[in-house]
C-alpha cells in the first residue's frame, strides 16, 4: 500500500501534496482545539501505535500470517481527524527513517492511508455501530469498517498507479513511472485487498475494538461507539429526495445545449458513425445483459417525450435509493441478529 519514490510522476505527487495541505491544516486545527496539554502526547502515541499494529501478525489458515494497517482502528480510538494526523506522522517517519514509502509520495500515501482509509472506514463503523449497539455488534461494525476503509484506500492507490501511463509516456513508448493501466491496477489492487488483506484488517480491527470496549480507554471510545442518531439522517434523506427530483436535469440540459451522448457511453450505431465500424468484442457483448430499466427509462420508452422520460428518471432514482437502502438494512439486520 505504501507507494515508493519513482512510481508516481510529478503531476500526481504534487497534486497529492496540494490536496493534503488543506486537509492537514483542518486536521491540525480540529485536533489542537480538542487537545488539552495533558493529552498532547496522544498524537505521538497513536502514530507510534500504528507501527505496533503492523508488528502484530495474525495467524491465517494454511500456516500463513498477515498484518493490518490499523487506520480505522486508530480512527475509532481517537477520531478520524486525529487518526489522519497520527497516520500522516507515522508515514512521514516510515519514509524518512526507514525508506518505507517514498518521500515524493508522502502526499499520495497520506491521501490514501491517512485520509481515505480512516474516514471511509470510520463512516462505515459509525453508521453500522448505530444498527448494532451491542459490544459484539460494534466489534463487527469496526471489522466491516476496517475492511471497507482498506479496500477504498487500495482503490485510490490503484487509480493513482493506473493514471501514470496516461499522464507520462515518453516519445519512444516507454512508461516513465508505474507502467500498468487502470484496467490492470484497479482489479489487481482492489481484489487482493477485498478478498485477502481486507479480511486481515477486518479481523484485527474488530477483535481489538471488541476487547477495547471493556477497558478503561472507553473515555476515548465514547466519541465513536454511540453511532449517529436516526434524526441526524433526516437531512440526508431530504437531500437524497431533492437530488432524485432534479435528476431529469440530466435529460433536459443535454437537449437544451444540443450536447451529444456522454463521452464513452455511445451506442453501437454512434460508434459506427464515429469510427466507421463496430469492434467485434463490443458487438458480441452488446445485449448480453438486458436491464430492467434501460437508460433509466421504462422499456419501449426510447421515443417518448422528455416529460414522460423525466418521470421514469425520477422513478429510477427513487428505486435505486430504495434498493440500496433496503439491501443495506437487511444486511445490517442479519449481522445484528448474528451478533446477538
Amino acid at each position: 500500500m505504501h507507494i515508493p519514490d519513482g512510481y508516481l510522476g510529478p503531476a500526481t505527487y504534487l497534486s497529492s501534496y496540494v490536496a493534503c495541505v488543506p486537509l492537514w491544516g483542518a486536521a491540525a486545527r480540529k485536533v489542537q482545539a480538542g487537545l488539552t496539554a495533558r493529552r498532547v502526547p496522544l498524537l505521538a502515541i497513536s502514530a507510534a501505535f500504528t507501527f505496533v499494529v503492523m508488528m502484530f501478525n495474525v495467524p491465517l489458515p494454511g500456516a500463513t500470517t498477515g498484518h493490518a494497517v490499523g487506520g480505522v482502528l486508530i480512527a475509532i480510538a481517537v477520531g478520524p481527524w486525529g487518526a489522519a494526523l497520527a497516520i500522516s506522522i507515522a508515514l512521514a517517519i516510515q519514509a524518512l527513517l526507514f525508506g518505507d514509502g517514498g518521500i515524493t509520495a508522502i502526499g499520495a500515501n497520506c491521501l490514501n492511508i491517512a485520509f481515505v482509509m480512516p474516514f471511509t472506514g470510520y463512516a462505515v463503523y459509525r453508521w453500522l455501530a448505530r444498527c448494532f449497539p451491542s459490544p459484539k455488534g460494534r466489534a463487527i461494525a469496526a471489522g466491516i469498517g476496517g475492511w471497507a476503509g482498506l479496500t477504498c484506500a487500495a482503490f485510490t492507490t490503484a487509480v493513482l498507479f493506473g493514471i501514470q501511463p496516461l499522464l507520462h509516456t515518453a516519445s519512444d513508448g516507454r512508461a516513465l513511472y508505474a507502467p500498468y493501466p487502470l484496467s490492470v491496477t484497479v482489479p489487481v489492487m482492489v481484489l487482493e485487498h477485498l478478498l485477502l488483506f481486507g479480511v486481515v484488517e477486518a479481523l484485527l480491527t474488530g477483535l481489538t475494538v471488541y476487547h477495547l470496549q471493556g477497558s478503561r480507554s472507553a473515555w476515548i471510545l465514547q466519541t465513536a461507539d454511540v453511532g449517529v442518531p436516526m434524526k441526524k439522517y433526516r437531512a440526508l434523506w431530504i437531500a437524497l429526495l431533492a437530488l432524485a427530483l432534479i435528476s431529469p436535469l440530466g435529460l433536459y440540459l443535454p437537449a437544451l445545449m444540443r450536447a451529444g451522448t456522454a463521452w464513452g457511453e455511445w451506442s453501437l450505431e454512434e460508434i459506427r458513425q464515429m469510427v466507421g465500424y463496430v469492434p467485434a468484442g463490443m458487438r458480441q457483448l452488446n445485449g448480453f445483459w438486458k436491464a430492467l430499466l434501460p437508460d433509466y427509462a421504462l422499456p419501449g420508452q426510447d421515443a417518448a417525450p422528455l416529460a414522460h422520460r423525466s418521470l421514469a428518471y425520477i422513478f429510477s432514482a427513487l428505486l435505486g435509493i430504495g434498493l440500496c437502502g433496503a439491501a443495506t438494512y437487511i444486511l445490517a439486520r442479519r449481522l445484528a441478529k448474528k451478533s446477538r
Binding site: V40, N57, I89, L207
Partner: protein
C-alpha cells in the same frame, strides 16, 4: 528403569490427549520483525558514527541534498539521465563508507525484489506494446481473457525492456538515496533537521515524541510475544489465536494510553502549557553549502546527458 522427566511426562500426557505441539509461526514472525527493528536501529547508530562524506556534514545539508536528489530523479526522463543519478548515489554511498550489504539489509533488497517483480510483467508487449523481440507465447489469433484481449504473440519487447529499466533505475536510485540519508544520520539529528523545512511546531514535537514512544511500545510488544511463546505448550484453535492477538492489541493500546497520561502529567508538572516553540538552529557551514551546490550541479548536469 529411568524415571521420566516432567517434560517427558508432559509430552506423554499431551500425546495421550491427542494434543499437538504449539505452532507459533505468527508469534515467531512478529518477534523476528521486532528483533530486526532493534538491530537495524543499532546498525544505523553505528553507520552514522563513521567518518564518511555525509557523516561529516550538517544533517540539514544531508536532508536538503537528499530531497533535491529525489526530486531530480523524479523529473528525469531518459535512461542515461537516470543512470547518472544512480551513479551519483552509488558514489555518495561509497564515500560515506556505507557497505552494499548494509544498504541492502536496510531496505534496498526488499525494494529491489519488489520493484523487479513489479517491472517483470512490464517487459511484455502485452503491457508496454511494441514488437516482441523474444516471443514467449504464440497462438494463431488474438484471444480474450475476461475483459482483456491478448495478442497472438506475447513476448518481451524493446519498449517493455526500456519501461522496466526506467522504472527500476528511478525507484532504486530514489530508495538508495533515502536509505543513504537514514544510515548516515541518527534519528534525532534527522528530526531536528526537519525544523529547517519550517514545519509547524506541533508536527515537529509529535515526530520527536513518536520516535521515542516507538521504542517503548515495540519493546513492550516484544515482551507480550515472548510471554506468549514461553507459555504456549500445545496448539490452540485458530480462533483462540485470533482472540489473543485482538486482546493483546487492546492491551498494548491501553498501556500506551497509560504511558501518554504519565508523560502528559510529567510535562504539565514541568510547566508545559501546550504551546510549542522550536529552538533556533545554527548556520550551515561552507562545506555544507559546497555539498548542496555539488548535488545540485551534478543533478542538473545529469539532465543534459
Amino acid at each position: 528403569m529411568p524415571i521420566p522427566s516432567r517434560e517427558q511426562e508432559f509430552f506423554e500426557m499431551a500425546r495421550a490427549r491427542r494434543l499437538r505441539p504449539a505452532r507459533n509461526g505468527f508469534v515467531d514472525k512478529s518477534l523476528r520483525q521486532l528483533a530486526a527493528f532493534f538491530s537495524d536501529a543499532l546498525l544505523r547508530e553505528e553507520t552514522a558514527r563513521r567518518s564518511g562524506l555525509l557523516q561529516r556534514l550538517d544533517p540539514r545539508a544531508r536532508l536538503l541534498g537528499t530531497l533535491f536528489f529525489v526530486l531530480s530523479v523524479s523529473l528525469a526522463r531518459s535512461i542515461p539521465d537516470l543512470a547518472a543519478h544512480a551513479a551519483l548515489v552509488a558514489a555518495v554511498l561509497w564515500l560515506s563508507h556505507v557497505r552494499l550489504r548494509e544498504i541492502l539489509g536496510a531496505g534496498l533488497l526488499i525494494a529491489l525484489v519488489f520493484s523487479t517483480l513489479m517491472a517483470l510483467p512490464a517487459t511484455l508487449n502485452l503491457v508496454s506494446g511494441g514488437k516482441p523481440l523474444l516471443p514467449l507465447l504464440v497462438r494463431d489469433a488474438a484471444w480474450r481473457l475476461g475483459p482483456y484481449t491478448i495478442p497472438p504473440i506475447v513476448g518481451i519487447s524493446r519498449e517493455g525492456l526500456l519501461t522496466a529499466a526506467t522504472f527500476l533505475l528511478r525507484t532504486l536510485a530514489s530508495v538508495a538515496a533515502v536509505l543513504c540519508l537514514a544510515l548516515s544520520t541518527p534519528w534525532m539529528d534527522l528530526l531536528r533537521a526537519l525544523r529547517f523545512l519550517r514545519l509547524p511546531p506541533l508536527v515537529l514535537q509529535t515526530l520527536g515524541m513518536t520516535v521515542r514512544y516507538l521504542h517503548v511500545l515495540l519493546r513492550q510488544s516484544e515482551e507480550i510475544h515472548l510471554g506468549k511463546k514461553s507459555r504456549a505448550l500445545t496448539r490452540r484453535p485458530l480462533i483462540a489465536d485470533h482472540m489473543w492477538v485482538g486482546s493483546r492489541m487492546a492491551y498494548a493500546w491501553e498501556k500506551s494510553l497509560r504511558l501518554m497520561e504519565d508523560v502528559g502529567e510529567a510535562m504539565t508538572a514541568r510547566g508545559f502549557t501546550g504551546e510549542m516553540r522550536a529552538a533556533p538552529g545554527s548556520r550551515l557551514r561552507a562545506a555544507d553549502w559546497g555539498f548542496l551546490a555539488a548535488v545540485a550541479g551534478l543533478c542538473l548536469g545529469a539532465h543534459f546527458i
